[in-house]
């Protein structure tokens, strides 16, 4: 018959798998603990999760740059490391939001935390490979966990959100599968580095361009969904609204980072191949996304929904950087999300702190603007902090998002897209209005009937998280230099 295959263990380079395995093992540990003793308090699981993520973080830091592992399926390049670090950092910051003073449904499940860890493992697999199959499986692992986590909030809106997200996600999975099929048919490979080589050699063949573009369109559509680009963004506002605030905040950062890494690999490849069409398509999508999301955010009545639109807009902004396909642009993506993460964390934490179990101020919304009216009178510190986050999101210096913004705008200019930088600027101006609207409500309106409920959900861990977010938002200028140099090094080392 056939001989056994001999593979040396070292050649597998198992260390490249370590981070994901840690997350998966952590998830399993949590499940086992639950089996052994039920009804343990959520704080245990939160802390366990953080610790696991911490180890995970450490193991990512320990990875060597530009290594492949496990039959070249795993790819540990700079962007894989950077994105994993960002994903893990964001996860560590968001998970303590479970420690509210009021009980919410999802946190009564230990499975919540297990799923959370599996989701992170999924994201890590997504970013740490250039194999379309592993990317697909990683995406699905993460997405399926995420759908469940959303639904676990256990409110009518959260099911609705989960189902909408799920259904559209399924369509997107179909698009991804179909797109991969076309690419595979074109190249006979599912690994991006080979795909790039083969496409390069086949570019000149007559009549083939339509297939190349067709494949890219299918993949683009799939990722446009993940990155909530117009017109694939429609799920985002509803899902953010239906999900709990921590999860909404989390969704606007972590899945986006993971999706951006994959998009960077795939579309960066197309653009490197000299297929300008892809670049233009991405730019058009990005510009429409940021503009339309901005103008829709203008008219929202709910802060969380507004933030949902705003994060769509931010995603469009960053997507434009991706289209530049320069090292600076790609650096900007991570930098932006690294900085955006803290502000967004802060903003959603503030919403979460002010979250009531039932809707007190509006029959549909949890966080209507009216809720925050006159906050400066009731809770000056909370108002100032919230305003800080809003200003940061609006891109007012010296708060964190501003630095990301100028870096990306600068990247656009460096790449010769001055018009893009101007559109980005004008969009920021439009965006300022809706962030300002909250500030106006908080600072300039008279308080409504409001019995100190803004701090309904407050606990010390949440204060700590807000404190971290505030410190990072304000002091971001001081971490810019290490961030930029590290990310730039990592990105350029991986050849993007």
């Amino acid at each position: 018959m056939f001989e056994p295959i001999n593979i040396s263990f070292t050649s597998l380079n198992m260390i490249t798998l370590a981070p994901m395995l840690i997350a998966i093992a952590g998830g399993l540990i949590i499940l086992v603990i639950d089996l052994i003793k039920a009804e343990l308090h959520k704080s245990l699981y939160v802390m366990l999760t953080i610790l696991i993520l911490f180890i995970d973080f450490g193991s990512v830091l320990g990875l060597n740059l530009n290594e492949r592992g496990f039959f070249d399926v795993m790819l540990i390049d700079g962007i894989a490391i950077v994105s994993q670090l960002l994903i893990l950092a964001a996860s560590m910051l968001f998970i303590p939001l479970a420690l509210t003073s009021k009980r919410f449904h999802e946190y009564s499940y230990p499975e919540f935390f297990a799923l959370f860890l599996f989701m992170i493992a999924g994201f890590q697999f997504m970013v740490a490979t250039d194999n379309l199959i592993l990317i697909f499986v990683g995406i699905e692992t993460a997405s399926l966990s995420l759908y469940t986590l959303i639904a676990l909030h256990n409110r009518n809106n959260s099911y609705e959100a989960a189902i909408k997200y799920f259904t559209m996600g399924a369509l997107s999975a179909g698009l991804y599968a179909m797109g991969s099929a076309v690419v595979y048919a074109l190249t006979g490979s599912v690994e991006l580095y080979q795909i790039a080589d083969i496409l390069q050699s086949r570019m000149a063949e007559p009549g083939i361009m339509i297939a190349i573009l067709g494949g890219s369109v299918l993949l683009l559509s799939a990722f446009a969904f993940k990155l909530s680009l117009f017109p694939f963004h429609t799920w985002a506002p509803d899902v953010y609204e239906g999900a709990s605030a921590p999860l909404a905040g989390y969704m606007s950062v972590v899945p986006k980072i993971a999706a951006f890494v994959v998009a960077m690999r795939i579309f960066g490849m197309y653009i490197d191949l000299g297929i300008e069409w892809v670049r233009i398509a991405i730019l058009v999508l990005a510009v429409t996304t940021m503009t339309l999301a901005n103008i829709m955010a203008l008219v929202q009545e709910d802060v969380k929904r507004m933030l949902a639109y705003s994060s769509i807009s931010h995603a469009g902004f960053v997507m434009a950087a991706l289209a530049l396909d320069t090292t600076k642009g790609n650096t900007g993506i991570f930098l932006y999300y690294g900085l955006f993460m803290f502000t967004n964390l802060g903003a959603f934490t503030m919403l979460w702190i002010s979250r009531h179990k039932n809707r007190v101020f509006h029959e549909r919304y949890d966080h209507p603007y009216e809720k925050f009216a006159g906050l400066i009178k009731i809770m000056p510190m909370a108002a100032v902090i919230m305003a800080l986050f809003m200003l940061s999101l609006a891109g007012v210096p010296p708060f964190s998002v501003f630095w990301g913004k100028i870096y990306i705008m600068s990247a656009a200019i460096d790449a010769g897209y001055v018009w893009l930088a101007i559109i980005m600027g004008l969009n920021s101006a439009i965006a300022a209005y809706y962030y300002l609207k909250l500030i106006v409500y908080m600072f300039l309106m008279k308080p409504e009937e409001n019995d100190g409920t803004v701090t309904y959900n407050l606990t010390k861990p949440l204060i700590t998280i807000v404190g971290i977010a505030v410190a990072a938002t304000i002091g971001s200028v001081f971490i810019m230099q290490p961030l930029i140099s590290y990310i730039y090094y990592m990105v350029s080392a991986s050849g993007y």
Binding site: L171, I210, G214, S216, S221, F225, W277
Partner: protein, 635 residues
Amino acid sequence: MEKFVYIALFAPFVSSIFAALFGMSPKKTFVGVIASLLLATSFLASALLAMFVYQTGGTIHVTMMDWIGAGDLSIPFGFVVDQISVTMMTVVTLVSTVVHIYSIGYMDHDKSFNRFFSYLSAFVFSMMVLVMSDNFAGLFIGWEGVGVCSWLLIGFWYHKEDVSPEENPSISPSWAANEAFIVNRIADLAMLVGIFVLYWNTGSLQYDVVFANLPYLNQTVLTTAAIALFIGAMGKSAQFPLHTWLTDAMEGPTPVSALIHAATMVTAGVFLVIRANPLYSMPEVGEVSYFIAALGTFVAFFAASMALVNRDLKRIIAYSTLSQLGYMFAAAGLGAYWIALFHLAAHAFFKALLFLGAGNVMHAMDDELDIFKMGGLKKSMRWTYIYMGVASLALAGIPPLAGFFSKDAIIETAFNEGTIVLWAILVVTAGMTAFYSFRQVFLTFEGDERYKEFGIHPHEMYKYVLVAMSPLALLAVIAGFFQGGFQTFITSGDVMPNYAMSEHTHHLVWILGSIVLAFAVGGVLLARYKYASGLKREMKCENSFIYQLLKNQYYVPQFYAEFISKPYAMISEKMWKTVDMKIIDITVDGIAKFIYSSGDDTRKMQTGNLSNYLNWMSFGLVALLIVAAISSVIG
């Protein structure tokens, strides 16, 4: 001598500050006394300086400190005492001192007595800066300073209400004050332009530097500078068409009219032309100078004609001031600068006297100004009658009073220059001057006592006031005799060119003098014939077109109101309500609203229905596919 310069300059300033300290307190007589004393000090210092200049023929030039220095521009606070400025200083301080003393009496019932002295002294200070400055910027400081003081003083009785122009052509003191300020500002703008022209072409604003550089400048520059500076002078000296403010300025207290709107400030324009005589003497600007003379002549006649029919005591004098300013400009324009300056000085004395006399009358008549309501005042106000009579005689140019010599010289100059038309007009105007002056005097002091029906009990002014007025009366009488001396003195330095009549004119001087005198005497006699016995109103004459035209000041104020003020207000309103609020602001808000409403439109795509969402997704897919297909086919 430098300290005398500073004393002369700053004594009024100290006076003003001193009075201002009491500005909000009730009347304190000592404020007026001290102010007057300080003014007298200033006069003494000026007189000593005049003596000094007269005796040594030298000039004093002091630079106090730097003012503005930027780029190449350097403007110091520099003062020069030469023949021209010392003359002006003496005249100004003399008249001011008299007016200050006079005001102690005139204003004694006014609750803002102290404030009045503060303003009045501030005015004198500004005037001193104006005349003493050694550069155009310093002149401009004084120029604007007197403008502000004039504004303050015209509007001194600010609490009076606005009335319709039919009731009072000046509407209200505050209105008149604003009018004066704004009209002057228009002229000031031109003056600034003149200054700019000179600066950019000579690199300095010092008189000596500028004048030294004049020969190197081309005609355009010289003409522009000359015109611009003259427009500035026109504003301050109320030459047509910027003359309306002067008559309205009579709303101010009478001492103010005497000092500012007769003797000093309004002559600043003339002073400017005299000061800038090297410029106006340039052959390149001969046409401008001629224009100045022509305009002066025109204004002399124009103002006199309006004075013929006016019934307001002060306005008549104001018109006569205008008219005399016209004479001065005529002289200056024709190159007879020293004659213009001489008339300026002489005019200052008798016109101030005339105004102060009018003030006495007003004081006596409970501020009544309509000469048709007066008459026969000579019984109760003998001294005033004498003063006003003397002043009017001087004004009319009856020898041997001051006016005769100075005015006659101007008319001679016109003849001498061969500008016969100007000469003729000036002669006729001299007759008209005599007529309206004495029309006023006779209607006021002679004839029936019409005031009785209004229940007014006139009384003579305080003694000390009358005494204080005597120097003016004296000078109004004798100033003319110093003509020759003055000529020698003023032309001794190099600041003022001499002007002498030609041989030919010299021969005819007696004939010319006689013609003028005949007109003057004729005017006086006509006035005596018509008005000395009492007021006889001839309605037919009064309703005639010309009478109405003159009475309404040639409808110039109405023209300004209808064609400048009202359209300006209307356009402003339109600019605000239409352009600013409707066009610009609506555009800005419109952009914002458009963005906002497009948000409302766009959010409709977010129906909440999953099917629609999926439709959108596939729409995106299909659209991208189609575009991809098309672009790949195209290449």
